[in-house]
Subunit: 108 residues, 2 copies
DNA sequence: TCATTATTTAACGGTATTGTTAAATACAGT
DNA sequence: ACTGTATTTAACAATACCGTTAAATAATGA
């Protein structure tokens, strides 16, 4: 079970973030098809996938010659849980901000 | 408004993640006090805080000589919203996994 | 086994990141 | 203005990261 900051590190690169979002939307996708999300060589994508794998963000399944990748739900849930564990902090603040904005809107 | 991968980049470093968690738990804290979360020189902490500031994760308030730091709620909410926007994906999968684990538990 | 397709690993160069110490800046009190 | 406290900026070295091309590995089918 990788630590959260490792997950964040995996998601910090724009290419990897795009790959993960692609996988989240389209579901399981081959390494080759993922090349299309970034204008980048195969080896570059392959190494990004390795980093995502090592961080526990994605997992691999072999289908003939192809490597099929998919997001590990627990990885996203771990991020979610972190935000939830501090929800009281940010929720109340954002609510207050929204009320201020709403009040300003009404004054006009 | 910084992009999400920039926020992830800011949170990817263990020291910065520790700083943010500290701020989330203890609330506003001075730069000096934050030195205690990591065995590291003042300048190192200061630059980490700058990175967090540039990523929009924290903000600064001046109190005499001290710089007081606090987390920007919107930053955490942005992360939260991203997980929510894909909740259908990971929620269902995790639910299924939990059901399997529960079923196995009952079989014993 | 040989050829084909799909992907990964290796080696390399350029750039970015991170920590250190020394110097600079900011502010308060005398 | 001068001193002390708090923090940041500058300069430097070590390491990590990212993309490229070339070579290696994996799996399928003739």
């Amino acid at each position: 079970m990788p630590s959260l900051n490792k997950t964040f590190a995996a998601l910090s690169d724009p290419t990897r973030f795009a790959i993960v979002n692609q996988l989240l939307v389209d579901g399981e996708t081959s390494a080759g098809s993922l090349q299309q999300v970034a204008d980048m060589s195969g080896p570059a994508i392959s190494r990004h996938l390795k980093i995502l794998r090592n961080a526990g963000v994605v997992e691999q399944r072999i289908d003939a010659q192809r490597r099929m990748y998919r997001v590990r739900p627990q990885a996203i849930m771990a991020v979610h849980n972190w935000t939830i564990s501090h929800q009281e902090f940010w929720q109340s603040s954002v609510d207050r901000l929204e009320q201020v904005l709403l009040a300003e809107k009404e004054r006009k």
